[in-house]
Amino acid sequence: MNYLMRTKWWKWLTMALLVYVVIGGFLFPVPRLPILNETIRVLHFHVPMWFGMLFLFVASVVHAIKYLSSGKIENDIMSNQLAIVGTLFGILGMLTGMFWATFTWGEPWSSDPKQNASAIGLLIYFAYFILRGSIQDEQQKAKVSAVYNIFAFAALVPLLFILPRLTDSLHPGNGGNPGFNAYDLDSNLRKVFYTAVIGWTLLGFWIATIKIRYKLLLEKIDD
């Protein structure tokens, strides 16, 4: 995070990647699959949100651990802001997914295990924000919320990766549904998708650095 705060080159990279993703995502030819049809383009906007969310949450946990070992308040600010942006990405992923599901599965919420798991995952982070709000003392707030952050992340991992395997998911690629990988589509889709994952994730970190900078300035004014 410190490195990202200091350097600039990756912001140019983000912009370039996202321009490519938006143009490529909407205009490049896509393979025709039953049911999916043109909605397959959501691959470039919905799936990267979850990747971005996970990377942001991992970064948040890393800073929570750093805070517990060093006790520097900057790490707590970083951890908190990364979690906020991660949750934002999660909500966006949820909305894009529900929007897509309306057209493919027929309804926004079909009790798909991945949908349920990610809803619960978001609940965990909402609880984290409420926990932060309910403690007055700065030091104690930072410490307790760092502990909960790590603890909750450990619960999130089995939720997202193990439980959806217990029952079949409606998601493409699961439970015999036509998948993006199964057909191995054309390399165009794949190229745009990987770019999208990197691009949106970097955008998330960019937003986080701005928020962190703002909070650090507020902290300075307070002192």
């Binding site: 517990l68 965990i124 409420i130 309910s134 790590i150 603890f151 450990a154 939720l159 217990l166």
Partner: protein, 217 residues
């Protein structure tokens, strides 16, 4: 080390013995919860519903029983803050509340089967799964209780913080339990059971590592 653990566990036992009302309150809570669900579900309860209802009742018993584990330490904590290592405190709490909850669950199970029957097809593995699941519930809630005791609104925070964290354990054990209720064997749930065990181990290990930080704050 062992002596301190023993002392801590005995201390909790003595507190519960002297102020009898929390334990008695939980017992009454169990009975009224089960009678309410009996009145609501009587006549049309399927095996799957039986299972889901049973685990939901366990969840509420667990959250209410364990919620007090650290809330009751408020005025005492300063006293042995300097005397005992935090890692020993959490181990003692985990053991005490693990056993405490197992006792409550056996009471709940007997009252529950008295009213709503006991339609379990494979009972041996059912109890194994029950014990593992309930240890997971009690240890996760013990850790959450230590976090929520630091906030102003203990009871609500306990539920908000606890429920999302507990869901992996709960889903896995409900899933296993349903297979067993419907007549599956131990082999059908062995992979799930191993996952459940490893989630338990992760939660207990994390409580052990993280507890000292909440305790000192």
């Amino acid at each position: 080390m062992l002596k301190q653990l023993q002392w801590l566990i005995l201390k909790d036992l003595r507190i519960d013995w002297r102020t009898k009302y929390p334990a008695a309150g939980i017992l009454l809570y169990i009975t009224s919860l089960i009678i309410t669900s009996y009145l609501a579900f009587t006549g049309f309860i399927e095996r799957e519903t039986w299972n889901a209802l049973f685990w939901l009742i366990l969840l509420f018993i667990s959250i209410n029983a364990v919620a007090k584990s650290f809330a009751q330490e408020d005025d005492r904590s300063a006293y042995y803050f300097y005397l005992i290592k935090p890692s020993r405190i959490i181990v003692a709490k985990l053991i005490y509340y693990g056993v405490y909850q197992l006792l409550l669950i056996s009471v709940a199970l007997s009252v529950f089967s008295l009213f709503l029957g006991f339609p379990v097809a494979t009972s041996g593995p059912f109890f194994l799964n029950l014990i593992i699941g309930s240890i997971g519930l009690s240890s996760a809630f013990t850790m959450v209780s230590s976090i929520s005791s630091k906030t102003n609104n203990n009871a609500v925070m306990m539920a908000i913080l606890g429920f999302p964290v507990i869901i992996p354990i709960l889903i896995l054990s409900i899933n296993n339990s349903q297979i067993l209720v419907l007549g599956g064997s131990l082999a059908d749930i062995s992979t799930n059971l191993i996952t459940l065990l490893s989630v338990n181990v992760i939660i207990i290990a994390l409580s052990f590592i993280l507890f000292p930080f909440t305790w000192k704050s």
